[in-house]
Amino acid sequence: MRVLLVDDDKTCNEFLALFLKDEGYEVRSALSAGEALAIAESFAPELVVADWLLKDGIDGAEMAHQLSARDPSLRVIFTTGSPSEQLREQIRGLRVVEVYQKPIEIDALLAQIRGLRAEAA
């Protein structure tokens, strides 16, 4: 399964990628929404794990909407440092699996992604 990680925190991206690669996923990571959209062109992710707040003007929710427009089957998992009602509003219409609050429960996240892979297979 192709997973795109989007977080402006480099360490988070790096280690989450290590976890997923160890479990056999095809992983790409991006530090900004712009970079993610560019990668998605060729990579065509099935799952996006994205931080809600990104720094370059386009936030995670907006980016997910743009990606979903291209691939309506795209699944989305959000991570956020500060969950809010605003986020619930912004993710309406997306195939959002879960919103994880940072620091994330890594085992729960990995279990959920495994579930998605089984579902897809």
């Binding site: 360490t11 988070c12 976890f19 720094k55 956020t80 609050q101």
Partner: protein
């Protein structure tokens, strides 16, 4: 003059001439001579008869025979002289030609004005009597005119008195006279009414001081001058009186003349006006205070709104390093072959990042008790420039100063403002890749002092500009920025009642402008004085 002068009448009226002689032939002879003068001739045949006639009328001249039986001429003359009314009437003695000098001098001593010797020379007699007639006429004229003048003066005085009396009676201002000790002797109706009496006689003999309000008695003196003073009327009502006294010397000591006007209404208006002014001042103060409080609330709510943004930012910023720590640790635990040193290094770095963010937050959120002192902004800028060159490296940073002269001292927390200036210079230095030229300018306006920090760096993109003062907004996160620097600057300037704005053109540079209120010195001083 309304009346015709008497001179005209005396010219028409005949003067009386009295002839006294016991001999009818002599009387007739003189009468005949004097008839030509055209005057009124009265004849008496004895001294007694002459005296009787003199009781009834006045004569211009008396021709008196010296030798008469009974009262002779001298005796008659002496009696005539004794009466006041006739003491100055000219007497001409008529005597025979052979009288002695002694005889003549006696006549003069008895008040004769002339002698005529008989038999008379008609021309001489007429001429002499004519002189006295003229004299009489002129005397009469003078007498009449002086009488006329006297009467006119009396009339005018009487008129003046009537007018003054009327004026005093109708005047609405109390007028009175009092003795040296303040006992009222005269008063007009207005003064009488002022004291609560019906007629002026009621107040005569009363003492002025007995009408004074008890609170006014001490310190009251019967001396010249005007004063506003409270009276208590006969009916117990309290009135304000403008009392003007004049102490004048008189024959027996001194007299006090006074004016008294009821100014109770004016006093009430003054009181109302004073009250109104006080109310107005109080309202202005209350409004100002309310405005100050609402501004305070506004600033606090702005701060709270800013805190809301801040809280979300804090959660995000703190949770990111925590997230990185957790993921790294979990990964290292799960994979014993993973490079532990690398994991620990990462965890330490992330923890330090979290710590740095917490420190930034503390600086931002700290409710410092800001003490502001009058500060020379130009000096502060020079000092900060030196500091920046020391820390940022003078070889790649040039800071040019264009400082306005006669800059007023400003109420500043110099440490905080120095932090702002240092931050702006530091940003400018970091924005430029190569050599940086920063210009700091000050400009003194009537109400604000402006500081500009201009750099020749690459400029700030348009979409970034509006968020530049937001907490945790950073374009140099990779370089270790917390995104709090400019929002701290913004907070400090707001705290000083000023504002900070940014203007930037890509490829040309950026200008940060700080406006600080020039009036803050005076306000600060007042605040301090009030404490």
């Amino acid at each position: 003059m309304r009346e015709a002068p008497l001179a005209l009448d005396t010219a028409v009226e005949k003067a009386n001439i009295l002839l006294v002689d016991d001999r009818a032939d002599k009387l007739l002879a003189i009468e005949t001579v004097l008839e030509e003068l055209g005057q009124n001739i009265v004849k008496a045949t004895s001294g007694m008869e002459a005296l009787r006639l003199l009781l009834r009328q006045d004569f211009a001249v008396i021709l008196l025979d010296v030798s008469m039986p009974g009262l002779d001429g001298f005796e008659t003359a002496a009696l005539i002289r004794q009466r006041a009314r006739s003491e100055n009437t000219p007497i001409i003695f008529v005597t025979s030609i052979n009288t002695t000098d002694t005889h003549v001098s006696r006549g003069y001593s008895l008040g004769a004005v002339d002698y005529i010797f008989s038999p008379v020379e008609p021309e001489i007699l007429r001429a002499k009597v004519g002189v006295f007639i003229d004299l009489y006429r002129k005397t009469e004229q003078v007498r009449y005119q002086s009488e006329l003048l006297r009467r006119e003066a009396e009339e005018r005085a009487a008129n003046l008195e009537v007018r003054l009396h009327s004026l005093l009676n109708h005047l609405d201002i109390g007028v009175f006279r009092a003795t040296e000790s303040g006992s009222i002797t005269e008063a007009n109706p207005a003064f009488t009414r002022l004291l609560g009496f019906a007629v002026p006689d009621d107040v005569a003999g009363m003492r002025l001081e007995q009408f004074l309000h008890p609170g006014e008695r001490e310190g009251f003196r019967l001396v010249s001058g005007a004063r506003d003073i409270r009276f208590v009327r006969q009916d117990g009502r309290e009135v304000w009186v403008q009392l003007t006294l004049t102490v004048n010397p008189e024959r027996n000591g001194q007299v006090i003349e006074g004016l008294a006007e009821d100014v109770t209404d004016r006093k009430a208006r003054e009181h109302d006006l004073k009250h109104l002014n006080e109310t107005l001042e109080r309202r202005v103060f209350e409004r100002t205070e309310a405005l100050r409080i609402s501004q305070e609330h506004l600033r606090r709510s702005e701060r709270l709104a800013s805190l809301g943004t801040l809280a979300a930012g804090i959660a995000h910023e703190i949770n990111n390093p925590l997230n990185a720590i957790v993921i790294t640790a979990r990964y290292a635990l799960k994979n014993p072959k993973f490079d532990r040193d690398k994991a620990f290094e990462t965890i330490c770095n992330e923890a330090m990042r979290g710590g740095e963010i917490v420190r930034g937050i503390l600086r931002f959120a700290k409710e410092e008790k800001v003490t502001k002192t009058p500060t020379d902004l130009n000096e502060l800028i020079k000092h900060t420039r030196d500091l920046a060159k020391t820390y940022l490296g003078s070889n790649r940073l040039s800071v040019e100063l264009e400082l306005a002269e006669n800059l007023p001292p400003l109420m500043l927390n110099s440490t905080a403002i120095e932090q702002v200036l240092f931050n702006l210079i530091n940003n400018a230095a970091e924005a430029s890749q190569g050599e940086t030229s920063v210009v700091v300018r000050t400009h003194s306006g009537s109400e604000v002092v402006r500081v500009e920090v201009r750099d020749n760096g690459p400029g700030i993109p348009e979409d970034t500009l509006p968020r530049i003062f937001d907490p945790f907004f950073s374009t140099k996160r990779s370089a270790g920025g917390t995104g709090l620097g400019l929002s701290i600057c913004h907070g400090i300037i707001l705290e000083h009642g000023g504002s900070i704005t940014v203007d930037s053109q890509l490829g040309q540079g950026t200008v940060f402008s700080i406006q600080l209120p020039a009036a803050s010195v005076a306000q600060g001083t007042m605040k301090e004085a009030a404490v």
